[in-house]
């Protein structure tokens, strides 16, 4: 307990930054992932191929490598002036997490779209809806209910993945212990508190997932 209370100035901002990282990249990944999923089911072959290629490449690349690229290699390309960016590494972490997680969100969404009976799409076409209208008002709302459990798992993974930023100069929960070491605190105890923090965050998410799953499965 002492380690936590004596170093609240580290733990507080660390946990807050983790939550901030999670919310920013989670929103980005959801938006990008849904766009990718729409590309992957679209009638235009080029767009389908582009979506599929992106997902295949990103899903088979370690997240650490994506971080690695944005932290070390990307600045060398001179697209952004990293010196002007006060918090370049934080932005880089958000971009890495967003790009990586979006591929998984896309796959989850696509699996969800596949669970919607084809008759739904056929019926909306019979009513004269366009492809966009059909996706937006008929298929995606139904798919959304089917994907809640795997989507929460994906977001859970994202939350845990934020800790990888510890290796790339972003201060968040994962890097607390590294800073504790400088103060001569016991790292095992320090990390145990970080682990507990994630258990406390992840388990309610899993419970929420189960209750949503139960409540929404009847509605269909």
């Amino acid at each position: 307990m002492d380690v936590l209370l004596d170093n609240l100035d580290l733990y507080g901002p660390g946990f807050l930054d983790t939550v901030e990282l999670f919310l920013l990249s989670g929103t980005g990944a959801l938006v990008l992932g849904v766009v990718l999923a729409m590309l992957r089911v679209s009638p235009v072959p080029v767009l389908r191929a582009a979506g599929a290629t992106y997902v295949t490449i990103v899903r088979n690349t370690p997240l650490t490598l994506v971080f690695f690229f944005f932290a070390f290699a990307f600045p060398l390309l001179g697209i952004v002036n990293t010196r002007d960016f006060g918090s370049y590494y934080f932005v880089a972490a958000v971009i890495a997490l967003t790009l990586y997680t979006a591929a998984f969100v896309c796959e989850v969404m696509r699996a969800g779209i596949n669970t919607v009976p084809v008759g739904q799409a056929e019926a909306s076409r019979a009513l004269g809806l366009t492809f966009g209208q059909m996706l937006g008002s008929v298929v995606l709302p139904q798919a959304l209910r089917a994907v809640v459990p795997p989507m929460v798992s994906t977001l859970n993974a994202l939350l845990k993945n934020t800790t990888i930023a510890a290796g790339f100069s972003v201060f968040q929960a994962g890097s607390i212990s590294l800073n504790l070491a400088e103060r001569g605190e016991d790292q095992l105890v320090g990390l145990a508190w970080v682990a507990l923090f994630f258990v406390v965050l992840v388990i309610p998410m899993t419970l929420l997932q189960r209750s949503l799953e139960k409540r929404w499965s009847i509605a269909r």
Binding site: P43, V46, P62, N114, V118, T163, G174, L188
Partner: protein, 277 residues
């Protein structure tokens, strides 16, 4: 694609789709061209940044780093499968004394980020060689996930399987070991191999605690001034290696799944997406 969401396009839709296709292709090409342009302008394509590839010493070192990655993967995979099987059995036990602690252990290791686990072993417990921390972390995290996969597989089997085994006079442990687990293993093969892909990707975390694997070596070589700090070329090469290895495993998974689908000995696998990362 199992379902088709759109009609067979008519003449007007075909024209429209062609327009979208051209616009989409142009957008993709524009992005790629911009990337290539930035690479060219910042000199990433210049020969001097790629000369490292010609050195035998670097080739052997790169190979050694790749071997270290595979070593961590191999050890982690075997141990995680064992851990998963044991804890799946424990979670399905009739005795609360075994079931409850196993559930707590599995839920704990699934909830804690792998980075934090690895840091705990490396910095907290000071296990010595980073290899042990990496393998232990990979084992516990992926083992916990695999335990859930195995459990879902056992639960998806028809009740008649265990009933028939009991009717033959098998003991509880025999039913699990000889009848249920082998079938669960086959039913869940795609999910298991997908989790192994995750394990392979996660070996890259060893980089954070200076385990000398592929990414660590990439960092080392990428900072070399003799070759003009070839970080971008190195990153591309290493990414290609990782993607090739993972695709090989994924290909294995789909091949196995196809073979499974043909054999009538296996019941249909429940649609369960593997957990990412």
């Amino acid at each position: 694609m199992s379902s088709v969401l759109f009609d067979v396009p008519g003449p007007r839709a075909r024209v429209r789709h062609r327009v979208y296709g051209v616009v989409g292709a142009l957008a993709v090409v524009a992005v790629l061209a911009f990337v290539a342009y930035r690479f060219a302008v910042s000199g990433q394509f210049s020969g001097s940044k790629w000369t490292w590839i010609e050195y035998t010493k670097i080739q052997t070192d790169l190979l050694a780093a790749l071997l270290n990655t595979l070593k961590a993967f191999g050890a982690g995979a075997v141990l995680a499968l064992l851990f998963g099987a044991v804890f799946a059995m424990a979670r399905l036990s009739d005795h609360a004394v075994i079931r409850v602690p196993a559930t707590v252990v599995v839920e704990f290791f699934r909830a804690v980020p792998l980075v934090v686990l690895i840091f705990m072993f490396h910095y907290g417990l000071a296990l010595g060689a980073p290899f042990f921390s990496v393998v232990l972390g990979l084992t516990l995290y992926n083992g916990a996930v695999l335990a859930e996969v195995f459990r879902a597989g056992v639960l998806s089997l028809p009740r008649g399987q265990s009933e028939a085994a009991y009717a033959l006079g098998m003991a509880k442990s025999q039913v699990m070991r000889l009848v249920l687990l082998p079938q669960a293993l086959r039913v869940m093969l795609p999910a298991i191999v997908s989790q192994l892909v995750v394990l392979l990707k996660d070996t890259a975390l060893g980089f954070l605690i200076t385990y000398e694997e592929l990414l660590y070596y990439a960092r080392y070589l990428g900072g070399d001034f003799q070759f003009g700090r070839p970080l971008v070329p190195i990153t591309i090469s290493v990414a290609a290696l990782y993607i090739a290895m993972c695709l090989l495993l994924t290909w294995l998974a789909t091949t196995l799944e196809k073979r499974n689908r043909r054999s009538r000995k296996v019941v249909a696998a429940p649609q369960d997406d593997p957990l990412p990362a």
